[in-house]
Symmetry: C2
Subunit: 130 residues, 2 copies
Amino acid sequence: MYKENNLSKNQQIIFDLINKSSEPLKAYTILFNVQKKGIKAPPQVYRALDKLVETGKIHKIESKNAFVACRNSGCEISKATAFSICESCEMVDEINDAKLTKYLTSFSDKKGTKYKRFNLEFFGLCKKCK
Amino acid sequence: MYKENNLSKNQQIIFDLINKSSEPLKAYTILFNVQKKGIKAPPQVYRALDKLVETGKIHKIESKNAFVACRNSGCEISKATAFSICESCEMVDEINDAKLTKYLTSFSDKKGTKYKRFNLEFFGLCKKCK
DNA sequence: ACATATATGTAATAATATAACATTTATAAG
DNA sequence: CTTATAAATGTTATATTATTACATATATGT
């Protein structure tokens, strides 16, 4: 018998919180929100976040030090991520565009090197803020 | 009369250090290295870094919280940045590829939104580490 | 039921970044 | 030149983000 749900207790609690959120959550915001569930210290949060990132359930928005749930069913272990970030309301949307992914994974630099893994962050105004 | 060199004293000291470095420098590494020049406290470093980023003289590598000098003479005020980052030796190279920039600045998401500003970080192995 | 890997709990601390406020220096306009 | 204004600096304190280290517990495979 094998597990259907491969998330541990803390991982599940933290994933649920991020997954319900409409905006990226920061580690200490997460901590404050899960203390009632018994997760009391930063390492517990960071370990769960690390694992969730590693398995592609969530992504880190590097420019904001914040985390969003993966909205792209295709990237179980995600190496190729793209996001649009509103400079006004801070909203973040994951971009799932096969052509873009293909273009970037097949991109080759001046030395002829190709890259399987990338992170792309677009900045602009979302529809609401325009 | 107008200034040839538009950098202030602290900005110049910090830019010179970053510009000479073969690898990305972190804010506190910079701080330790400029203390002998009279820059003693974090805010002095962060303010200079902010200004240098704003004017495109340096870029922040978001995934590393570190800074590199701009190697792209074209981006005085840089909004469209791309880097290759070696996962082994941590080396970072700025990518200056007109076609890539054009592709990304003309990219339009599912809602039809285009983005003038972006930051792209590629991860892989550099030639030395392969 | 044993070995091993994975996850948890906890305290302390390291690393990264900003707030607030006083002062000084540069720049532009009268 | 001198006055107003913006930009930069110096300094102390503190906020925010992240990791180390170590003890314990739970899950997984043989």
